[in-house]
Symmetry: C2
Subunit: 247 residues, 2 copies
Amino acid sequence: MEKRRQPRRRGVARAMAFEACADCRVRAKALCACLSDLELVQLDRISRHKHVEGGATLMWAGDEGVVCGNLIAGMLKMTAFADDGREQIVGLLYPGDFIGRPQSGELLFSIMALTDSDLCLFPRAAFQTMLDDHIAMERLLLRRTMLALDEARQRMLLLGRGTAAEKLAGFLLEMAARFGAVPDAEGSVTIDLPLSRGQIADVLGLTIETVSRQMTHFRIAGLIDLPGGRSVTIRDRAGLRSRAMAG
Amino acid sequence: MEKRRQPRRRGVARAMAFEACADCRVRAKALCACLSDLELVQLDRISRHKHVEGGATLMWAGDEGVVCGNLIAGMLKMTAFADDGREQIVGLLYPGDFIGRPQSGELLFSIMALTDSDLCLFPRAAFQTMLDDHIAMERLLLRRTMLALDEARQRMLLLGRGTAAEKLAGFLLEMAARFGAVPDAEGSVTIDLPLSRGQIADVLGLTIETVSRQMTHFRIAGLIDLPGGRSVTIRDRAGLRSRAMAG
DNA sequence: GCCGGCGCTTGATCTCGATCAACGACAGGC
DNA sequence: GCCTGTCGTTGATCGAGATCAAGCGCCGGC
């Protein structure tokens, strides 16, 4: 019903590419969850949809962050770089997650699409105004930021003190939880990882080779199967859990 | 000269135990910075001062977080534990920093005093109400939480990808920046670390021995002096910086 | 079909930091 | 004074994971 209000960069076809806010796929998960349908219209007015292909970089560390927004579909990574090229993925973003700093400034981390992704972006200043007018949304953003902080700190324990096996086991369980398909007859779950081995290594603070070897170890131990490509079948979730770090 | 003003927990003396909010030592740095003198009175009404000795634990991971507040003086650490006892310090808290989660729930990290510390605590629910009524304070809290998140992520790069030397050099520079006394005639700065070698190791994801050895290396390289105790004199800040990770 | 490139795996070796162990410096108790 | 415990330093050795190197499977281009 709000179709005509859809942001459009060119052509009518694009108007069909995304649902209106009211039937947005992440309506219930994103920040917007706390807005009434009426308020949504207001938000809609300043929003702009964007599609990025897997591999494309959305924002570069060092740039001025002029937009923020919600991830609607797909998966993004946030990466910190050392000046000699070493990198560490400091966060993974899933549909419904909020992106950017409404309040300020220079970006510290680059954001890149792991898979084809759809975003709903707002000019920073306009969104800040929106937050000012909708305390509930600001409150929700605060709560989420605190959750993200807790998560980051939990990951510091893993990065600082975890073994390679613990890191990978934890990662696989997280992926399984995120993409949890229904288990098959034997209780196995197959997931198609959106990350390459190198990217997994960058999440876990390991090297490609170590990730690959640990995968093999888990396979030989009967915990997982590696049917090919980036697929992983989790055959023994309890076994994996016992190898993950219990924080 | 302020000896008599030492904290006490009940009775009339308590009113005298700490300065009034208006001349609080962290008045300009803490969350309260955004409140008017009038609003401060309101906040004062729900606040409770507390003194903790160095080494004491303020909150345990797993507990219900029933208070939050500001650190007035001293230094605290936040620690994440693995169930087998491994630990990782996930954050250091300085005067003016905010402690706790106004919104919710079970604490994920333990908070322990590194030095004798003074706090200004609020019952969680009352503080939440206060936030509701003072949007500016909530906004400031949001901004700070985001800064803390950026900091945590930056530290993930160091933990995941940094060498022992990079970790320690970065740590010493951070300490120097925090406790930056005026340089002496030769441009050296001496700081008295509030952390033991073991605690430094827990911040950096290293062992005591590695921290100690790196200290010795830096000393032999002429970057620092170790006059004894927990003192460190930084003789060559540029040299240290060149060994720290440039993010 | 063949070729070239990329991502993944596997093997061999190396190295940094962990681990194990001993010892010295210092503080508190008595 | 002596004993004991804690903290920090240093040395010897070990080992997990990094690094170096080779090869395989797969896909797209032509």
